[in-house]
């Protein structure tokens, strides 16, 4: 069921769901530029099924072979931008191995095969007023569309962006433009260690209490956010990663140990019961 995308102009609004809610779409690449030394932003025209994507969902991207690499499995990438107006979806990705190296060879006009949207995205409890985002590294890609979602739901957003150095802090402008308050902490500035971040979060919460927390991209930040959410008795969610076989809930490769309400540890599939989990159930990784 490889669908071809309609030209973006013919799909200005969220299109009705396709015959199949998930599609393997041959998307036309619009741009694929580096955003800093490690990350690139890939924008592509998407079909109606793909445009139903929500914050926290992901796509399985076919990574083109290069003369050196022949990636076999697809690679999971969170949807970073959902632009229903222009019929585009975007991915912010770090070039790490053969799959992402392949992705980085795509040029405008090429075809990106993307299966999705996949998995469960973020859900904001009704009436949420102040959302805390805690992200590091690639976690930012996953959390960015949540700002859009929270603002649309009438909530304020404070985003803590942690990175090795200021050059690695991405999408601060994108987040700010969407109305989030952005606070950067970096290893080079020396304010990204857990003690300082904890103090920062407590101060922010004291100023204006959070009623929802979301995190992605760092195990230590996850532990901190989880502890504070419990202490503050607020809802929270974490977007998790796992090595994936299919991304479609079929192979059971992507399981993560989570704590069931009974207290016992069970496996859940990141691609199907996740990638967004309630922050209480996730353990560490």
């Amino acid at each position: 069921m490889t669908a071809t995308c309609p030209a973006p102009s013919t799909a200005p609004d969220p299109a009705p769901a396709a015959a199949f809610p998930i599609a393997d779409t041959a998307c036309r690449v619009v741009s694929n530029e580096p955003v800093n030394a490690e990350y690139r932003l890939l924008l592509a025209e998407a079909g109606p099924a793909a445009l139903t994507a929500e914050a926290g969902q992901f796509f399985q991207l076919k990574c083109p072979p290069t003369t050196l690499d022949r990636p076999f499995l697809r690679r999971p990438m969170s949807v970073y931008r959902i632009d229903r107006q222009n019929g585009q979806i975007g991915f912010l990705y770090k070039v790490t191995g053969k799959g992402t190296r392949g992705l980085s060879t795509l040029v405008p006009g090429d075809t990106l095969e993307a299966i999705g949207p996949l998995g469960l995205g973020f859900t904001l409890p009704a009436g949420t007023r102040h959302v805390l985002l805690v992200a590091r590294g690639v976690g930012l890609a996953t959390l960015t569309p949540l700002v859009q979602m929270a603002r649309a739901a009438g909530a304020e957003v404070t985003a803590i962006l942690s990175a090795r150095n200021p050059a690695m802090v991405m999408s601060r402008d994108e987040l700010a433009a969407q109305g989030a308050r952005v606070i950067e902490v970096t290893d080079t500035a020396g304010d990204s260690d857990m003690a300082q971040v904890e103090a920062l979060l407590r101060r922010l919460h004291a100023e204006q209490p959070f009623d929802f927390a979301a995190t992605c991209g760092s195990n230590r930040l996850l532990q901190l956010t989880k502890a504070l959410s419990a202490e503050w008795q607020i809802a929270g969610q974490a977007a998790m990663e796992a090595f994936m076989g299919c991304g479609m809930g079929m192979c059971y490769a992507c399981v993560l140990p989570v704590t069931a309400p009974s207290g016992e540890t069970i496996f859940k599939r990141v691609c199907r019961e996740g990638p967004v989990f309630s922050i209480e159930e996730v353990q560490s990784w």
């Binding site: 076999f72 059971y252 496996f267």
Partner: protein
Amino acid sequence: MVDLSVQIGSVTLRNPVMPASGTIAEGFAEIVDLGRLGAIVLKTITPDIRQGTQPPRVAEFTDATLFSIGIPSKGPDYLLESTLPVYAGFGVPVVASVSADSVEDFGTLAAYISAPGVAAIEANVSCPNLRAHGQAFGMDPEATAEVIRAMKARTDTPIWAKLTPNVGDIAQIARAAEAAGADALVVSNALLGMAVDAENMRPRLGNVIGGLTGNAVKPVILRMVHQVAQAVSIPIIGCGGIANGEDAVEYLLAGATAVQFGTVNFIEPAAMEDAIAWIEAYCRRHGVTEVRALTGAMSPRHDQKSPLQSAVL
């Protein structure tokens, strides 16, 4: 018009293409039209409820993957109450797959799940026989035969024996399964493999050993289908490294009546549908009016075959 239908014992498939056990799940119906397949094969279940192996569960190679999942299973009641209804509406035969730790449990489970919506039951004998020091049933002809006999004794639903390729003489196992009453043979499950990360000096899978699947294994399993086809007269379903119509036709020529697509479903959800179209075009191109005529139609390369076929190198 090409007649794509094939007959697996008493089960008629509208075409020879079906998924391999454990490589599709409910979610697949959200992406492709399962109604176009020859059959739908479900993931193996066990009598008990299982969580499976420790992650990481997958490693990747060129044209191949190593998976170690460990048959997570929600048990037979979940199959009957939740899984079967999902697949009931496609008008396609649904094949269940079972595994167990003992011969008796294979029989009991087969009887338990012999519901109207189950067209056949695959016996996944690649799992360890707890009475034989954990050696897989499928590695021993007698244990394989016992499993099939126990299942045939407890149900009238057709039984397909899915053999393990991790054996010396696959033809011997195939003959044992046929003699025990198997209605068809699936050749085969996955070769066992392993991967080590040299830099961190650890196995790449949580379970150390996993199943090697994907296109790279095709030459090995194709050879087994050829060997089994010379040994039995029940239908053979080829499975191993099939990714497209051409791979499927190679299996048919080597002696298979139908084929199962596995790992490729994870990468190209449209692979099975595309293959059905390719096979039809292939038949037309070669003037073949019935796809079943391809089964075993490979002509030998030379007039006589080497009597020493296994002294290959």
